[in-house]
Structures are given as C-alpha cells and as structure tokens.
C-alpha cells in the first residue's frame, strides 16, 4: 500500500502550478502522475481567431521567458510558407536577441535551483547579473520581457553602434561577474551534495523518453538544433555542450557552460553583422502547411502552421520543450527520494505555462 502525496500546484519551490501525484513507499517514489491544466488558456484556438500578423505578438505570450524565440519560430514558419527571404542583417539580429534570451533564461533557472536548495545568496547574485542582460535587451528593443522585436519579413529594430557598445560592455561585466559566481554553483561542497547522483537519466532512457535540450545534452546526446544552421547560426562558430554524468549536476553544468557559449555567440553575431536592410515588405496571405523547429533554452520547439490563403490560419500547433521533457522527468523521479523531488524538477527547468499554452 503506497501513500499518495500531492506535490503542488502551490509549492514553495515551484514557480508555476503543476501537480505531481507521488506514490510513496516509505520515502521512496514508486510512481508519478503529473496533473496539468492549471495554466491552460487555449492560445492555439485564439491564434486562429486573430490574424496572422497579430499572432506574432500573441505567440510571445506562450511563455514570457523565451518570448522572443517563440515569435522568431513563428515568423520563420510564416516566412517559409510565403517564401520570403529575410535580409542577412535581420538574421544576425535575431541571433543576438535569441542568445540574450538564452543567457537570461539559464541564469534564471540556475538562480531558482539555488533558491530551491536553500542557497539564497547565490540566487540573488545570479539574478543581479541577469539584470545586466535585461538592461541590454531593454536598451536595444525597449522591452524587458516582451521584446516584440521580431516581425514577419525581418525585425522591427536595428542595433546602432552606441547600442552595440552598450551590449558588449554589459556582456563583459556579466562575464566577469559570472567567472566568480559559476564556480560556486559547480564546485561548492554543499551544492554538489544536493545535485550529484540525483535524478539519474541514462543515455538510453533519455533517448527513449524523447528528452530535448539541456536534459538530453546532460545525458550525453549532442542534440542541439542550432547546429543545423538556421537563421545565422551557419556562419557562427560553436559546438554543442555535452555532459555525460546523466544527473542533475550534469544538467546544471550544461546550463553553466551554455551561458558562456551564448555570450560568445552574441559577440560573434554583433561582430559579423553585415550592413543590409533589416526588413523586407511582403505581399499576399500564407497558404500551405509548414513545420518548423528551433532550439530554445529548454530544448527544441516545434511549430506547425497551416494557412488557407486568408488572414486567419487554419491551425497553429506548438510542441514545447517542457512537454517533451515530462516523460523524462517521470523516469528520473521513479525510485528517487521525496526530499530530492524539488531539485529534480528544477534541474529540468520546467516551463509549465508553455507546456499548457
């Protein structure tokens, strides 16, 4: 006879409402049942009611953390459907904002993890550094969270020399601060006690569960959709970050190293940016079907769009990274201790609001 313990929907370590019904045998978890629906809004249906230009602002609200990447994926889909060629400079600008988003999202996730295992000082310091990235985004687009900078056919804002210098300076300062903070996250004795060997997801299990993003890369799969070279990634130099210890610590390490990688990518993109238009005009209405994939901070997102030649799309479907990671999360939780549940859940960096849309 096992005891059922509800974890969530309102729980101090969970920033978002999801319920995990944990069946316990003593302190050990024997089975997990995720209960969702607390954040379901019905955004996919709403996207059919609004027209396809408004949708690019609507999809930013799928998730406030990777907002720019959602609108970018959507715009890439529509552009493919309507055969619009985006100017090169816009592609580089998209990389800049997408990578800034990845830095702020990873710092946020690392901070929340630190808060969950009770290291409040580290949480505060990581978020202080994150504010530098928020400032860089605000200085270049005007928004801190919702950038609204991506539109069909390009981007709405350009980065001039002064803004470029500001962004580079913020990155330099942030990197110097992170050089002091990240070692605490990766080498501290008490942090390691909470993360090493916790939430094991071995390589085969990660593949079987269909894990994506840092969860898959922490289990030894070099799966990074950016290597396929969409937008301007084909011209930039980077390697996917892979760790092989398959536990919560490995996933944390992947995020720590990706922060540096993204800082480097922003620098490269700002450096190689050609001087062209940032936006092209387009004619007509989207017609046809397209599926498009992008690498977000939490993994790969899939957008499926179907147009019928009118203002309104027939169907928009989003498969978000956390949705793909929930089976992997259940594999990790099975057999672990109740006290580690918070750590394991946050090591996947769940984003419930985009899972449920």
């Amino acid at each position: 006879m096992s005891t059922i313990v509800p974890f969530g929907p309102q729980h101090p370590v969970l920033p978002e409402p999801i319920q995990l019904r944990l069946a316990l045998d003593d302190e050990r978890i024997v089975s997990v049942l995720p209960v969702v629906g607390y954040v379901h809004r019905g955004l996919e249906k709403l996207a059919e009611q609004k027209d396809f230009v408004q949708d690019s602002y609507l999809v930013e609200r799928v998730c406030g953390i990777c907002s720019f990447m959602h609108s970018m994926s959507y715009c890439m889909g529509i552009e493919e459907m309507m055969e619009i060629t985006v100017p090169e400079r816009a592609n580089y600008l998209r990389v800049v904002w997408a990578e800034l988003h990845r830095i702020h999202s990873h710092l946020l996730a690392l901070g929340l993890l630190a808060d969950a295992f009770g290291f409040e000082n580290l949480f505060m310091q990581l978020w202080r550094t994150r504010e530098r990235i928020m400032d860089a985004m605000e200085y270049t687009t005007g928004g801190r969270v919702m950038l609204n900078a991506c539109c069909i056919g390009g981007v709405r804002r350009d980065i001039n020399d002064e803004q470029k210098a500001f962004v580079l300076n913020q990155l330099k300062e942030a990197e110097a601060e992170l050089k002091r903070l990240i070692p605490v996250m990766t080498d501290d004795y008490s942090v390691k006690k909470r993360l090493v060997g916790i939430g094991i997801l071995d390589k085969a299990a990660a593949y079987a569960a269909g894990a994506v993003g840092p969860t898959a890369r922490g289990s030894g799969h070099a799966m990074d959709h950016r290597t396929t070279g969409y937008i301007a990634y084909k011209n930039l130099d980077f390697e996917p970050v892979v760790e092989t210890s398959c536990d919560s610590y490995a996933r944390t390490l992947v995020r720590c190293r990706e922060v540096y990688q993204s800082i480097d990518l922003v620098r490269q993109a700002l450096d190689k940016m050609p001087d062209t238009e940032i936006k092209v005009a387009y004619k007509g209405k989207p017609c046809g079907e397209v599926a498009i994939r992008c690498e977000q901070p939490r993994g790969e997102v899939l957008y499926y769009l179907k147009g019928n030649g009118t203002d309104h799309l027939d169907r928009m479907r989003v498969r978000t990274p956390t949705f793909a990671n929930i089976p992997a999360l259940m594999t990790m939780l099975n057999g672990s201790q109740l006290a580690d549940v918070g750590m394991i859940v946050l090591s996947v960096d769940p984003c419930i609001s985009c899972t449920e849309r």
């Binding site: 920033p15 629906g37 709403l46 009611q49 609507l58 310091q125 978020w127 919702m146 609001s353």
Partner: protein, 178 residues
Amino acid sequence: MTKATAKSPWVVHVNCNSCNGCDIEFLACLTPMYDAERFGVVHIGSPKHADIMVVTGSVNHRNARVLRNLYEQMPGPKVVVAMGICPATGGIFADCYNVLGGVDKVIPVDVYVPGCPPRPEAMLDGILEGAAILAQKQQNTPTVKPVMKLKIVKPAPAPAPAEAPAAAGATGEQAVAK
C-alpha cells in the same frame, strides 16, 4: 501591531494562468536590483503566513478553485494585488475558451497594476499601495479583546514568618482561578 505589519508585509505569490512574463518580473522585484526587501516586503511560500497576495494571470475553470482555497487560507485582514493586465481583465487571452476573465470574478481585488508585463517599479508601487490598504483595513478591524485577564495580586504583608508560604500559595491559586 498595525504599524509593524504595514511596514513589513509578507507576500505570497500565486500564479494562476499567467504566461510567466509577470512572474519573472515579480521575482526580479525581490532581487538586488529592485530589492523589495528594503520596504520590508518578505516573499513567503505559504498563504497561511501572508498578508498580501500577489496574483498573476487570469482564472480558468481549473485554477479558480485553487485560488479561492488559497485566499481563504490567508488570515485576515488581507489584501490582493493583481499584477499585469491578465488578472485585471484576461488581457490578451480574454477571448480564449478556457479563460473566465479577471481574478475579481473569484476573489476581491484591492490593487490593479496594469501592463503586459508591468515594470518592476510599477509592481513595487502596487505592493506598497497594498500595504497602505492593509494598514487601513487593520485600523477598521475591531481589535479582539483578550479572553483572559491576569489580575495582579499584591502579596499580603507577611504577618508572621511561619504563615508566609501558605499565604503566598493561596494568593497564587486565587489569581489563577480568577
């Protein structure tokens, strides 16, 4: 008591149906750049310890009951601050089939902070406004009289050293009985 609570309100954060934009901005309020703690604002995990409830996102069929539950668990007097345009009207999601509308459909709201998402400065303003309302509500709440009053009984002047312990014991019992 009134003064102390208004100067250090404890805040619980409830995520209803939000897109995370408002949540991360609220968390940013607590961190060193905006530092809500300089106004005494303490972020707390349990609604049973909280004076102010910060709600982000609108209500849907499923979380309305959760929100109601959490609100009822808070001790009174309590204040609700709605962060963002979602908890005010439903915002961009107002037309969605699963959105009932603003949180005022389920619980009374005292302060609305508009914006999608509002800036952290505006959020801080909202919380401080909430703290002022909390102080007012506390003044209007009739203070509960203590149920039992202790009566201070002066020890009788000891007439003789032999009787002293017995007399002290008697007065002690009397005080407890009263």
